[in-house]
Amino acid sequence: MKFDRLLAQHKLIICVGSGGVGKTTTAAAIGLRGAREGRKVLVLTIDPARRLANSLGLAQFGNEETQIELKDATGELWAMMLDSQSTFDALIRKVSPDQETQDKILDNRIYRHIADSFGGSQEYMATERLYDVVVSGKYDLVVLDTPPVKNALDFLESPGRLTRFLDRRVLQWFLAPYEEGRVFGRLFRGTSAVVFRLLGYIFGREFLDELAEFLYIFRDLYDGFRERHEAVIEMFAEATTTFLVVCAPTEPSVAVARYFLDELSERQMPCAGVIVNQVHQCAGSVVEPAEILSEVIATSTTDLDPHVGAQLLARLSVAHRRLMGLAKAEGLLIDSIKSRMPVHSILWRVPRFEGEVHDLRALDRVGESLQD
């Protein structure tokens, strides 16, 4: 299938894969291609490492949608890097019923720490922001670059983890003594009372009090969180959404790609195929560099060191054999992915380019190589 058709048929493309395989570059190239084809595209990265900005030749960009200037494009390319803290704040502003609740949460010490530095909050917020931009209807296509998490589709689970925390039952259990406390002056009863004293002992009473205050304010926001999370999961299963597994032709990356394919199929998530990046190109014909190059070398080295021709020939011979061996080994690895791919899905190979891919021209070349 032509890659352009894939772009035209989808509103949301999610790139998954291990780190360091050009996932961000691929997401940017897909976005650029979409813009060249006349669509309004947003590339969204939740990668804390700013690779997208690098790929687009920008120093950095933040939580706001930023337009990338394109010449000769009928569409538009926008990019955004998810910043956990500001996304969290924006979300609180959106779901708070009134100014007072909003201020209380934003000032809560625990909230500041959770949003700022506790692990996983990047992922917590990713689907929220994704929901925002897709639902806004501002874009024809959204391309999501996922963080290189070790644990496969963690980013799908993390909002689950957050909403579990805010589950009404847990909240009620946790807050009951505090609510009672407000009325009866901290009355603890039964097993909960014992467990509570333990939690108090482990975490320190001060922390529990603050946490209770935080959750007390948050409890009314739970339904909003849950609804949005469910909507995102539904969005993932829609016909206009597809996942693309991105990998490099190396042993560990291919193992991760196979794992992703299995996970996606288990979760019945749509997967259009696999993009193998950075493939070394070598036709593999057995040649003797000395035979085919001696003549031209003789005429090109008159002003150079007399041994340079022989030196370079020896080097070319080794380099060519090395490249041939590498291309062959990569071919075998790529074959091992094919058996795990869903029916009708496609495997695209993107060659390793000379020089690094971090400007629009190079991204265009990646996009073009996806058309074959």
Partner: protein, 314 residues
């Protein structure tokens, strides 16, 4: 810091951009430790799909298992780590049982942001009592930073009580002179960018972990002369050459670019962050994967051992 001093640290943490070969370096350092007679443990952090299994053909469990002689492996998953953590923190079996029996507490502990990270880091610290050396294959860059921020945040949020103490223990271990963080990189511009950024982020962390070395994988030692470069450029500019010639020249440029990128990366790492760099040559004679990942790790361990021996003799 010399490699020999780094390799003798009791706790070694490794991170870097994804795909740079963290797990291989972790396994190679572990291998080196075992070769030098240390009881060494390589741990993965909360991973559903073991990368060590790809190398050793044995999937590490939560309880350390021996991967090869003197080298142990473990996968620190949250569930059992929490049980251990409660045992050590509360120190009363009956109470731990009571806590674990309460479903709400389970959900509470699992979902409390930072709890997962703190519990796992605490386990790493307590494993130092059982092993001479622990090598941690940490998550990639930004995620490693988030992990390392947790003890500082926790110690600050909980000003008293066992969590405060445990977090302080972790911080003390991280700041110890026998703990070191190594960053794994590749000789590629964007990877070096990220390495420089990661380095400065680690330095800004509340925990005082030292970052003395960068391991640069897949290096091509620069051996090409200026004349060779000139000749290769001239040949590449020729028109009307057949495909075989084009391909051989492309192979030559590929090699030359790797050499150039290696030199650039070494220069930038020295110049921009001024840390020691341990370069690894490309593994596999033909650039392929002969012998599989285990063989590659053994080759890397041999390279480390040669350097360590050389440093000791000076």
């Amino acid at each position: 810091m010399r490699l020999v001093d780094f390799a003798e640290c009791r706790l070694i943490l490794l991170t870097g951009k994804g795909g740079t070969g963290k797990t291989s370096v972790a396994a190679a350092l572990g291998h080196l430790g075992a070769m030098e007679g240390r009881r060494t443990l390589v741990v993965e952090v909360d991973s559903q799909r073991s990368a060590l299994a790809e190398i050793f053909g044995v999937t590490p469990s939560y309880e350390p298992i021996e991967l090869s002689e003197g080298l142990w492996g473990a996968n620190l998953v949250f569930g059992p780590a929490l049980v251990d953590w409660l045992d050590e923190t509360v120190r009363a079996a009956k109470i731990v049982k009571l806590i674990l029996a309460n479903q709400m507490v389970q959900v509470f502990l699992e979902a409390t942001p930072g709890a997962r990270e703190l519990v796992i880091l605490s386990k790493v610290v307590s494993l130092l009592e059982e092993f001479d050396q622990v090598v941690v294959d940490m998550p990639a860059s930004g995620h490693a930073i988030n992990l390392l921020k947790v003890p500082t945040t926790a110690a600050r949020l909980m000003r008293t009580g066992p969590i405060h103490e445990r977090a302080s223990d972790v911080l003390a271990t991280l700041g110890d002179s026998s703990t070191a963080l190594g960053i794994i990189a590749l000789p590629e511009e964007m990877v070096v960018n990220e390495t420089v950024e990661l380095y400065s982020k680690v330095r800004q962390l509340g925990c005082q972990v030292q970052v003395p070395l960068v391991f640069l994988n897949r290096c091509a030692a620069p051996t090409m002369t200026e004349d060779e470069h000139t000749l290769l450029d001239r040949l590449s500019d020729l028109e009307d050459v057949d495909d075989d010639v084009k391909e051989v020249l492309r192979a030559g440029r590929w090699d030359a670019n790797l050499e150039r990128a290696t030199a650039d990366s070494l220069g930038r790492l020295h110049g921009e962050i001024g840390v020691g760099v341990v370069p690894f040559p490309r593994m596999g004679v033909l650039g392929g994967f002969e012998g599989g990942p285990k063989r590659v790790v053994e080759q890397m361990a041999s390279a480390l051992r040669r350097r360590v021996l050389a440093e000791r003799s000076t």
